[in-house]
Symmetry: C2
Subunit: 741 residues, 2 copies
Amino acid sequence: MNYKFIQTNMNKALSTFLCVLFAVALNAQNIIGFKSENIKKQLELEASFESQISSTNLDSWMKKMAARPHYVGTEFGKENAEWMLKQFKSWGYDAKIETYHILFPYPKVRILELTAPTVYKAKLTAVPVEGDPYTEQGDELLPSYNAFSTDGDVEAELVFVNYGIPSDYEALEKLGIDVKGKIVIAKYYGSWRGIKPKLAAEKGAIGCIIYSDPEDDGYVRGDVYPEGAFKNKTGVQRGSVMDMPLYPGDVLTPGYGATEKADRLDRKDAPTITKIPVLPISYEDAAPLLEALKGPVAPVAWKGGLPLTYHIGPGPAKVHLKLEFDWQLKPAYNVIATLKGAQFPDEWILRGNHHDAWVHGAADPVSGMVALMEEARAVGELAKKGQRPKRTLIYCAWDAEEPGLIGSTEWVEDHKQELQEKAVAYINTDGNGRGFFNAGGSHTLQTLVAEVADVVTDPQKGVSIKERKIARDKINSGSADFKLYALGSGSDYTPFIQHAGIASLNLGFGGENAGGEYHTIYDTYSHYKRFKDPEFAYGATLAKTAGRIVLRLANADLLPIAFDPWHQTLSSYLEEIMKLCKTMRKDVEKHNNLIEDNAFYLASDPTKPFIEPQKKQHIPYLDFTPIQNSMTRIKASIDLFNSIDLNSLSNSDLEALNKKLMHTELSLTDASGLPRRSWYKHQIYAPGFYTGYGVKTLPGVREAVEQKEWQEAQQQIKKLGLTLDKLNHHIESLYSIAKKK
Amino acid sequence: MNYKFIQTNMNKALSTFLCVLFAVALNAQNIIGFKSENIKKQLELEASFESQISSTNLDSWMKKMAARPHYVGTEFGKENAEWMLKQFKSWGYDAKIETYHILFPYPKVRILELTAPTVYKAKLTAVPVEGDPYTEQGDELLPSYNAFSTDGDVEAELVFVNYGIPSDYEALEKLGIDVKGKIVIAKYYGSWRGIKPKLAAEKGAIGCIIYSDPEDDGYVRGDVYPEGAFKNKTGVQRGSVMDMPLYPGDVLTPGYGATEKADRLDRKDAPTITKIPVLPISYEDAAPLLEALKGPVAPVAWKGGLPLTYHIGPGPAKVHLKLEFDWQLKPAYNVIATLKGAQFPDEWILRGNHHDAWVHGAADPVSGMVALMEEARAVGELAKKGQRPKRTLIYCAWDAEEPGLIGSTEWVEDHKQELQEKAVAYINTDGNGRGFFNAGGSHTLQTLVAEVADVVTDPQKGVSIKERKIARDKINSGSADFKLYALGSGSDYTPFIQHAGIASLNLGFGGENAGGEYHTIYDTYSHYKRFKDPEFAYGATLAKTAGRIVLRLANADLLPIAFDPWHQTLSSYLEEIMKLCKTMRKDVEKHNNLIEDNAFYLASDPTKPFIEPQKKQHIPYLDFTPIQNSMTRIKASIDLFNSIDLNSLSNSDLEALNKKLMHTELSLTDASGLPRRSWYKHQIYAPGFYTGYGVKTLPGVREAVEQKEWQEAQQQIKKLGLTLDKLNHHIESLYSIAKKK
């Protein structure tokens, strides 16, 4: 870095520092949920909290917790849980370990071989690398596999299916290629991995191989480990393929806690175990398989970064895939640390991160776990000094997240009634890195998060983390608004928001920490220190951000819920779906016109297979008025609610209001859940049935439209209208309490 | 192919055959330029012409002409010319060879070596392949090089510059990377190759390497030769890097014919020879060079298909490039075959294709050359039987097209005055393949081409070539109009249209003949028969299409020029440029706002180099009214012209009108040419100064806008307005003649 550059940055840092000071001063005029008279005190508390945060702790704790593999059921995982328990206790928490007994498969037999036209036996083992002693722990490193693949022993011709997502099968259909009775090979990415074997099985395939193409997180992206951060030729991404969009958590105890004596399904009846065997492999192991494929050359968009021509098959490549798992009940240790609220002990702010990892998990999840711990430590220290929060805080370290959000799900299911009564919000974190603030969650909490993001300082640029995020958004999309993304799935917020109807957030930093270590033996402390967040500056910033949110929720006079951002966001979702219908209608019209004009036949290459496309059903006009009218009524109620003057409310008004406000999110759920997956109660946010982690907002309606289930779409519109009416009544009743009507 | 498939196709073929019949019957009511009474006779003539076309001739002639390498100056090239001369004579043409003496460099010394941090000596030789004896002709195969690279001996650090086009250098600038004093390595494609060394030299580089990345025409696209059609690891694309956007043709005789005794520039003063040495290489030779680069990882969009991480450098890779050429005057043999017109011998329809190739040139150019010959043979046979065209036909087989459109350019320059007096139109073809009809050219001829495309049958689908092309356009872009593309450069129409102002067309088929053989030793008869147009069905169709166009131009009562499509097209070009100004203005505003917000700094990764972007000058508002008003006047004149009733015109009226009409295109030229390149006279179409082959329409204005030369842009708008006024006067005078005013 040259001198001029440093100067420029220092000047900038200084000016932005002054700006932040000014912003804080301004914000002091108004913090959502706080009476004017209490704002200063809260800000002082937060400043005091921030001053406690030490990145050194994060560093040393990560080194300790990520020293050895610690997937669920390992001795080291248990050690970590017990060590955390001790820590929480030492910080003044009432801490305990809550244990569930969950089904966890350990890979006993993993055989993958190319049997024709040539022979190749897949190595299925990543190599240790120089400079990273963690990668040399041999047998202790969990063999690479996909948890909740079924056992199987299959041999068949191979078909390359790109990412193995719905649009890929549409393309295959156009080429006249059927995967029935075949084994498919799909690239990682493009969707959550569990969708790949799910769809493949639906299409009749008998086995599924998933590999990491160098285009997605290998040498195409950057130098590979240990030279760079990306996946070398032997790296394999582990991961669960449990059908989480149906229900997450223990596969044998859907909807209730996997306690020691719980009733359990027979494993053969567990619907979330895959129907076909599935195995992840490296690109070193994938190349000989792909090279042996013939048949049509894959579409341009399907090509990866391997030095070969990607053919689709089927065959002549034939593969043999044999998988056997040791299916055992394993103890999952959730560490639950409670700091009882000084004034409202039965109003709970929950805060969680998982502690189990696929291997060492320095980034995923330890980087987030240690930030949570440092936050909890600082809050505990303040409490010891008499600054105990008004509401109860519960810090959670979940086990068994990796195989399927199991620790958190079982705990939520087990405590559902009490949670729905007492929980105000759940704030989740997971792996964390260097870069930009990224927050998702309930849109009633958007204002709260935006206000906090406005006063937490970015460690690299000295402006607020909100300003830095918006700077990037302005460049990329022109947007200058701070928005929460909608939660799909992929971490422990899912049982809270989507099953129990508890307002939730998911927080993290990233964008300057790209790599290919995810779920491999290379996600180590050594890797993290070189490529992720070397100084733990963003780990500390995460602790500060989440901690401020927790403290505001804990101490607010009126729970910091804002309905305007929620209404704007919901309206945009509705518009999206209405636009989707329009686009689908135009596409069908265009498609049918092209068929009438014989255009597909005329434009086709006669030397290539041609499947005559069929005319499609016209897209009917749906009646969206139940949602539209409900949203209009809600807007009116929100306007009334917004007219309430917080400063004029008495303590008993506030108490009554908060008792109601804390259950706002619950009014957006429906006991019957979503079609074909009743575990998912939330009517606004869900993971996509065919995207996995990817969110579907207004899922009942949106997925029916996407699947062209028009009758169901209309039913779901009606149902969503009723759910929204529940929220409307809820807001109306809030207003009544405030106005004592 | 299964039975049902054949049935379906036969039914389709039958029904489309009936459609075509019906269309022909309909069209018989109106063919542009023909009086009602003459239409039937013309269509019978064309049918008779079509029935003569034999694809067998194309096959055997290609086998003969592509038997050995025949670049300019070779003995085999001369043999081909003399053999064609004999053929034309045998078909009743008055044929001769017109010879020019042009500078042509033969590569004497080609050394490329990596000298640090490791050592690699580039092989620079493509290997013969099994099953293709043509690739085994050893020393006779012209070594791979870029013609009109300067001699040079340089050694420097290497920089990877993606495609080496202007936007790539903008990206490098943002990264703070300078190519001054370096040797650049660029991928082929992204623009015409000659732009790469031109820009590199402008940026201060001292050498340029161009390689074929497997992503563009190698294994990423499909199987490589000989298994498939694409470029294997040793294939190298030859090609000219002469600065053709300045002027094409002999580098020593700009603007006049390179006759034996012509004055010649000193080679050191020839402005179209590159400023720095440049060499094309294979991806086998490129890989060690790219692997040795360090520095920033290339942007995602830059990555190619090699199994490595693309770094930009500079260095530590250092390369030594030494090139020496044998600069000799070589004879270029243009074969010119004339069939004198029966009624209007001084109205010439010119038709050309080049005959020289870089190596064997089965596809490029022989596939087009043999189609032209078969067309000429059939027309000659008809003439022998008494059906001699009214106007004179001149069939041309150009030499030395590959090194820089030299044969055609010298001929046009040498005969410019007579051509501008007598030429009605020039119809060009070049390499041809299987697939879709593709036609570019003067938009006054669009109606003519569309009408012909409506009656020529696609050999694979049985519908008209127009209907098949439109079927594809409908699928890809929704467009259902038949349009000519605008001519940039890259084949022999350039001197005709852009220098001499003669209405021109460029015709061909393709889209189902992809491969990587272009300008390599693999463009052979064997390759063509397997992957291009195996039955020469599209070669025959090209002969039919071009032949019908030639015969209509030759026999029309009134020359088939239509002004409406021209006006529509020109208006759309003007709109494009006005929209471009708007977009540029918005982009500058957005950019400057981002700088005011400090967004670029805030969003930048402090671990990576960051060059603070500077504020940009606001985009001024240009006064487009000179063009707009002229276009409005032209529209009125066109409406008057369209009111002329062809059937009511006397022969002397027609003769007088045609004498004027044939010079329509000339009115779109300006004697002073384009800024900084006076050779290019046409004010509507030109190859881009920084795109090469890629067209720039309304080039004076558009390029000034793109280069942000606002004063020049305003001057060019005025100049274009005056040129358009010339056309307006021209159309007005046509109307006066017709109305005898």
